[in-house]
Symmetry: D2
Subunit: 366 residues, 4 copies
């Protein structure tokens, strides 16, 4: 249930209303407070009459029941106003949200060594992208496959940040590692396979760090938003939703099926910002540029793209990684498209450096 | 197996090579003949040595085995050159293909009466779209639902064409109706539920008319191309592939899942032109504009969009139909996007007429 | 809407009630008439008051609205009484239904020649099975694959029936072939790919022949029952529903996923008899015996099992065909299981003949 | 790679062979040791020549490369011999395995209070079943739904064991809870949503406790076996695989689709014992008895069935829970079926007590 306060209500009256609402056996939260305050009531509100709330103050514009099972994640809960996730990075605050420029996250599947992660970060930085990604802990279907370098890889990510000023996004797989990961990462990723690892979601909620929540391979949109709700309910409003392809009956030519229609659907359901990951979705680097453009046209707030200095020698997910050269080219190609949709950046990918990319591609061995 | 002839080979020599090839117990087809002739050999070519073919003439550049099971539909078969489907309409020839402007097909799910189909066609025409769609024969899951007006609706479509000069696309469901439908339609549609109705595919191949082949609800890309192969193998090269959403585990917010990644995948597999139908894919008109833009960004050659003068009263598929006003707005919005991608039309949707649209929306009762 | 008449109501009164009901603008059908007459009203019954009907006669026990969209196929429509499909064969009438012995249909994927179909029929007959199956018209994903021998194969099936007294089940794919197929077949099969070929369903309804309706690869149970409703609505009550595996995300070890839970689900929804086809469902003969037993334990009314004299040389679907020897063994194994569940036959597979099977396996070349 | 030792090889020679094998840079494990020793070599064996191993001793019968990616879980690794998981309970050791009687696990979705869990355990015990299940930690899609009573519920399960002698199966969701859960549970369950929670799998491997590994909602069979491999690779050979329904396109009548064909498929791939959970698979108690019978006919080694004293008031998953009365009836019904398949128990469900069941159903409020 939300209580919408009229514009220009005196702050003291808003305060008084909140105090009155605290009498009810529910949680009271201030939700939106720009030009219009909205107050959320959470818990069992079935016994609370809307008229009773309305009578608290003439400054109450409306009392609305949130019908969706995902209360805090719902668009209704913020009275239709999109939320944004602002992430401080050495290069400045980067904001994910509908009314902000497109944010690009790029990097290798896993952090393999210092040289490759720093070199990749330099290319990523040079294109105007804002975050470097790279797995320290890797979910691999085989116990005999490379599992990531773990804690030491977190250190290498920090070095890459130092060298470039980019923010870091990396995945956490175990509640026991949450503190370590959150200490280094600027955004903590919860992977598709852990989307319904509810212990991890609760812990992610408790850190307060921005969380990137990937959609599970066969998660419905409602289940995905309920997973986000776990994080929000634990007190962390900084959640970004990332579509990375769903599992379908046809895996012959793509690894997963990129469900781009989640973008318009999510816009009607939730205020949370959206990211699209065309690399995992398609599984093949040759399809990434096209799906990146489609994602921008569909209105995504951000992109996650895999880049590796030498995809053929990558320790994981090589086939879906762009080379630095291809990545630079893609960033140049999408810059005017983002502008077209009013989502361009000031620096706008314009100082991209194909030479650097080519140099890295040719010299970095992994 | 294809035989690639060198550029500027004398026509008589090409003729001689073809004659030589006729000695083998296979079908010989001239495939591409712009600057470079390519000759296809179809049938059991396993016993034919590539060197033996090569020795026929010094003008043979290369002999290549087509590895895909869909021989004629494969990109290899045309040596990488996209095909195009040119459709004569009263307003002139409209060509579907990668090197041509975006083609837009629009109209109601089913032809309900003369007034509505002609009025809708007028709006469609006014926006610069080139085809009117409308079902005469309707595949409906219930035998008690409206099944389409059948033959008489074909006549109404012809009236709409007369009134506007638009081409007609309409569906055939029964081999027994093929002649009747092909006599009126400019493009004959085979619907998703009939994608593996092999009798219908063969008949469609025999007509020679351009065929719009919708992807089955759970058809793999390979099965879809094999269905196209049925039409091609029957001697009809005019096939357009239409993605209209696949069936997934989540049907709560969209009717199907639009698989836009078929576009880059098909570009690597086939020379055939592509259409995207965001109306059936999403099932809700509110998601159509966003997915239309995404489809253009992904490089579709054409679009199929449902428009109805009064969606709330439509005899079928109302929820996914745009109003004339919304359609005009969408066409105006996508015109610069098509231009951006070099797929704009000369007339470029510029003489769109919101007034006409509004008038139709308000006056046409169905 | 159904009108339930009290037991022992005089026939003349039932007649009078029916006449009264004919005044309403709906179709009136006598549905069940064993100990209790039930009369169905079909069409738009929303305007008809239940009380008005009730007042027609004191012999009316109850007036019930059928809530399911599949009216005639619903269990409600027959007031909970299962229907049965009785098929005359040279060996006598074979009845498919819940209160009848298990019916077994077996044979090759396609009719390849006289020797193989007659020999297979002899093995099938020897095991106590009641029907020979075999495709004359074959739906194949490739136009270059064997398409069935067509009309001539129908003749061979008739020869096999003559030689053994077995009934024949064979598939129709084209409305144009319906008469030819129905003239020979005892049960006409509509395949999975044609489950929503509505023209074919209507034609199948018009023949009056028993129809075996296979579930589409991604058809929901409701869509399947609506497809059955097409046949029933065309006046043909003789429909058997055949589950043959659905398409899922995992095709590595089985071709499809056998959805056995349709059995208990269908029992709550429909009165129609059920068949299970473990051969198409699993795609590999080694899994067929286990799934056959599971199907019997789940209560199937009948089974369809592929048998081929020489699976390795089969023109289609060899990997999923049992050898005659394996089939005989399976029939011996399941006889006591069918007995266990009260679904044994009189002849009960006891005169099975492994020698004949072995002889056929070793001598018939295909 | 496995090294198969001839029968009746002297133990000292086996010892010597193992010592020789330790020279290679791989892990050496004794795998099977009944009548025939089999020694497994794990790690990168590509550089090891089979002939070199063969030359170590004339008592080596065969050296075989394990082709499957799931090495220890593969049937090849045990040279075709099924493994068994023996679980000590107060009532004696219960063994899961192909050559052992059917094991039945039953109980409520979650442990709600002492009375209900003890009462349910008494019914379960009375029917001859061997394990009580009940969730202390519950994975729930909503953060606002009942999350289980956690640690205190583990204590209640221990009380139920004390009262009945049954073994306990309960789920762990967080690596941090593994010790607590393993200290009480006789079998530790890893739920479907955590099947690819690799941190949890590794921890489960380290405990050495028997692990029940549920298949993920959209996990392929290979992914499932790879998840088992994580546990086996961590040194824990006691893994039971539980199929609980997969996610398909049709969720109208069942919650999931029970994939019973995993039973014959797994028999060709792995030595691990199998459990079927018809309660979660169908989601509705009315379908549970039928699917239970089908599972037995398909050869399952064990069953997991939800029972609740008062399903209508259950805090979770009520619709899929049997009442005690229905459970007793089901156990009576399946006893002869298990016997039929040679999987009956000595006590064989014969001392079932409908009165007790009825009493519990009527008196226990939750």
């Amino acid at each position: 249930m939300i209580v919408v306060i009229k514009s220009q209500t005196p702050a003291s009256e808003v305060q008084r209303i909140i105090q009155e609402l605290h009498r009810y056996p529910v949680t009271v939260e201030k939700v939106v407070s720009n030009d219009k305050a909205v107050i959320g009531l959470l818990g069992d509100t079935t016994a609370i009459g809307r008229e009773n709330i309305q009578q608290i103050s003439p400054f109450i514009e409306q009392v609305v029941r949130v019908k969706q099972p995902f209360k805090r994640a719902s668009l209704e809960y913020r009275y239709g106003e999109p939320s944004e996730v602002a992430v401080p990075t050495p290069n400045g605050v980067v904001t994910f949200g509908q009314n902000h420029p497109l944010v690009v996250v790029a990097g290798p599947c896993s952090v393999e060594n210092e040289e490759m992660i720093v070199a990749t970060a330099q290319v990523v930085k040079a294109t105007g992208a804002q975050f470097i990604r790279g797995g320290a802990y890797k979910p691999r279907s085989s116990p005999y496959a490379f599992q990531g370098h773990g804690e030491s890889a977190l250190g290498l990510l920090a070095l890459a940040r130092e060298a470039t000023g980019l923010g870091i996004i990396t995945e956490v797989m175990d509640t026991a590692d949450m503190e370590k990961v959150a200490a280094v990462a600027d955004v903590v990723q919860i992977g598709a396979r852990n989307m319904q690892n509810f212990s991890l979601l609760k812990k992610a909620g408790a850190t307060g760090k921005p969380i990137l929540l990937k959609r599970g391979l066969s998660a419905t949109i409602e289940e995905w938003l309920m997973a986000a709700e776990y994080i929000l309910a634990a007190g962390n409003p900084n959640v970004i939703l990332c579509e990375r392809g769903i599992r379908s009956f046809d895996k012959q030519y793509t690894r997963n099926t990129l469900d781009l229609s989640v973008i318009p659907v999510l816009r009607t359901l939730t205020h949370l910002p959206i990211m699209i990951d065309p690399s995992h979705a398609t599984g093949y680097s040759q399809y990434v540029p096209t799906m990146t453009k489609a994602a921008i046209a569909a209105g995504t707030d951000s992109l996650m793209i895999e880049v590796h200095p030498n995809p053929a020698k990558a320790l994981s997910d090589g086939p879906q990684s762009l080379t630095p050269g291809d990545f630079v080219e893609l960033m140049q190609e999408i810059a005017p498209l983002a502008q077209f949709f009013g989502r361009g950046t000031k620096s706008a990918f314009t100082n991209a450096t194909p030479n650097l990319a080519a140099k890295i591609s040719s010299t970095v061995g992994v």
